[in-house]
Symmetry: C2
Subunit: 445 residues, 2 copies
């Protein structure tokens, strides 16, 4: 059995804690019951999959910008398939299935479960997935979908309209309805429709046959190279709605989309994260401070306050959904990123009147991790090592570095670094084009 976790999202709705590299599913805010540990949504889902004993390989379908976060949070135990460009869920799922079929050499009758990486739910959800898989194994239908019990007539979700019950557990699906208005939603719910939770099960060949119609290729590499030939369409429209044999399993337990500040904070018992002081008169105020400086809050009510290297957000909770209207205005390069080798934050950034720029980063590498050999064409870098030891290679010359050392890397010079211990340095970039795109990677000669 194979599980494909869909990890997408633009990272604007939980700004400034989320950004393009750190979507909401990567925020380590959720308490692991009975421990002091906090985990992210994607970590929670992976833990739940393992805890219920689903024996499946997990492949994460994601974007290039989220790849390092996935590795940092889930480790090496999962496969990752990255989309060459952002399209929609249908192409993303095709690509992941082609990976399973052509790269991983999975059998064509192997059962595949596609699911979002960030549902906030309980164990029963995963039991429900087991029943979906069993239904496919039993030949009940070509495809199974999970129906979520609606709690209100939402306009945000798709609905699955049932036809008749096959068995106690499996219900035939009559049709799907995407994002209806409230009145239609009310009627749908009255008629027994459920929310479409985006969880599907099918045999691998079922999907590769559909994928093949758009991109018929010999290798996974070829499919990936021809990714733009897939239509920009959702899996629901292209596959689920067209399916002729589709069954549903109902999930009646707790399920939430923690996609807004309001829904997220509802689930967080802790109200203060980071360096935060409040007085006794603060009520229903959740505060997240990822900056190194103190945050003092007096007498506020019903607020969410979040501060990160990307920005500061202060909102009445019920108004916090309006943040989406400001996404474009707040669009910037991420000021904080988790990477496979560690993390960095931008601590200073200036544009001078003559067009030149400077950018200062605090970079932290984990022990025994490396930043690969690369070059920049538009900026010089100076690193001052502030902690730890490592090895740096500049244009083929290798040397040890340690706390207090300075490294000058003029533009055009290839360089890479390996951390022997935890290694931290301050990197000052100066140049005319300080963008993340100014990077050209090499292998060591």
């Amino acid at each position: 059995m194979q599980i494909i976790l869909l990890s997408g999202g633009s990272g604007t709705r939980l700004w400034p804690l989320s950004n393009d590299a750190r979507s909401k599913q990567f925020l380590r805010l959720l308490d692991v019951e009975g421990t002091d540990i906090r985990e992210s949504m994607v970590q929670r889902v992976m833990r739940q999959i393992r805890e219920i004993g689903i024996d499946a390989d997990v492949t994460v379908a994601t974007s290039v910008s989220q790849q390092d976060s996935v590795i940092a949070q889930l480790g090496e135990g999962v496969s990752i398939v990255t989309e060459p460009s952002r399209r929609d869920t249908f192409p993303a799922i095709c690509l992941a299935c082609e990976y399973l079929a052509k790269e991983k050499q999975c059998a064509e009758d192997e059962i595949v479960v596609v699911m979002p990486c960030d549902p906030y739910t309980e164990t029963g959800y995963f039991g429900c997935i087991k029943r979906m898989v069993q239904s496919i194994a039993d030949g009940c239908a070509d495809m199974m979908v999970m129906g979520i019990c609606p709690t209100y007539p939402s306009e945000k979700y798709g609905y699955v309209v049932p036809e008749k019950e096959y068995t106690d557990e499996v219900i035939a699906v009559k049709r799907f309805t995407e994002k209806p208005d409230v009145q239609t939603a009310e009627k749908l719910i009255a008629d027994g429709a459920l929310w479409n939770g985006g969880v599907f099960a099918f045999r691998l060949r079922y999907l590769t046959a559909i994928s093949d119609k758009y991109v018929s290729a010999k290798s996974f590499t070829e499919v990936r190279d021809r990714y733009d030939e897939f239509p920009k369409i959702s899996f629901d429209y292209e596959v689920a709605e067209k399916a002729t044999s589709i069954g549903m399993v109902k999930f009646l337990g707790k399920w939430k989309d923690l996609g807004t500040w309001n829904t997220l904070t509802d689930e967080l018992h802790c109200k203060k994260y980071g360096n935060v002081l409040t007085d006794d008169t603060c009520e229903n105020t959740h505060i997240f401070n990822e900056l190194g400086i103190p945050l003092l809050c007096l007498g506020t009510k019903d607020l969410v306050i979040a501060a990160s290297p990307d920005g500061i957000f202060v909102s009445e909770k019920s108004k916090s959904e309006n943040i989406k209207g400001y996404a474009a205005a707040l669009k910037n390069r991420p000021m904080y990123e988790e990477r496979r080798w560690g993390k960095y934050k931008i601590v200073d950034s200036v544009c001078f009147p003559d067009g030149s720029q400077s950018l200062t980063k605090h970079v932290s590498l984990d022990p025994d991790c490396s930043i690969s050999y690369h070059r920049h064409d538009y900026h010089d870098e100076v690193w001052t090592i502030i902690d730890g030891e490592g090895e740096i290679v500049i244009d083929g010359v290798r040397r040890k570095i340690k706390r207090g050392d300075t490294v000058e890397i003029p533009k055009g010079f290839k360089h890479g670094v390996h951390a022997l211990t935890s290694l931290s340095f301050i990197e000052v970039q100066t140049g005319t084009k300080l963008s993340e795109e100014d990077i050209y990677r090499f292998s060591y000669d």
Copy 2:
């Protein structure tokens, strides 16, 4: 005529915009009517003194930590007397008067006006000062005090109780009452008492005679060296209350102490300072953002929000006075300072588990300004020049520096820098004791 402006304050009540180096009087938040310019309280008072045409030399009595802010904001046109240690207003005024007498060689019958540097008031206030000076010149009394028309029975202020009217303008003072309770304040006001605005006029010899009783010295340097021999007592207790011949001039115009977030924001028409976005549903919310990152605020009511390199403050306006209870918890080295040569901000600061530390500063020098020759014993520095040109001297060796250059300054090495243009650099300190006290100044050999 001589004016002594008293510039003190601990900088906690308008945290995080104010800090030990930047007390409230230095915050550039006040609109200059009819212009786009913003000025600080101390700049406003200086401008008002000049505009009304008071022909006086101005001496600012302040602490060492505020000296650079005074120079940066008022320029070279004022004299500055710094207290060697923090005592109270009586020693501070004695020191300034001894400076006028012994260093500046003012005549002993010259009239001196002592006043706070930060009253938020109108032109009439300065006309009132002129009348106080005239009254001293006319021999009405040994000392004149300004009485401010009370607007409510405050417990925060001192009161001046009148006796009888000498002339239309000058009233004999019966006694002073410091910070009464509300009931007493109500009675005082009913009996015609006024607030003591802390403005006094007298002839220089009047004060030096009192000062002499504590520290009788030949030179100003000697007075300064023996500063701790002055009692820690306020001018009101030691001088005003003991005066036998003291008159009052009434000021009936607008006068406010903008000492809390609540009173300050009442006077600020502009509600957004810095990189701030709000939606239409924000009401009565003042936002100050001195960080380089955006601040988005949605649907808040009656809040003050302030963010600076020192910290972030979010408060219901009526609760904002409670900030004083948190001063100790928020006490830290200033993360931002205006200096006579420019300014700096701390952009990153880390303590590592083994006790070593790093601190990263963005330093900006104004053209033709210098940081004097000095040495640190407990930390190394690396500077990366990000803009401009200058000259640096390291252990006697002078060299030019410009954008892109790197300068290493190991501990124990004397160094100084002169800016030929605007000069900015990122300074990374690493060491075991990163405090502002680790500095030893020299003159160039």
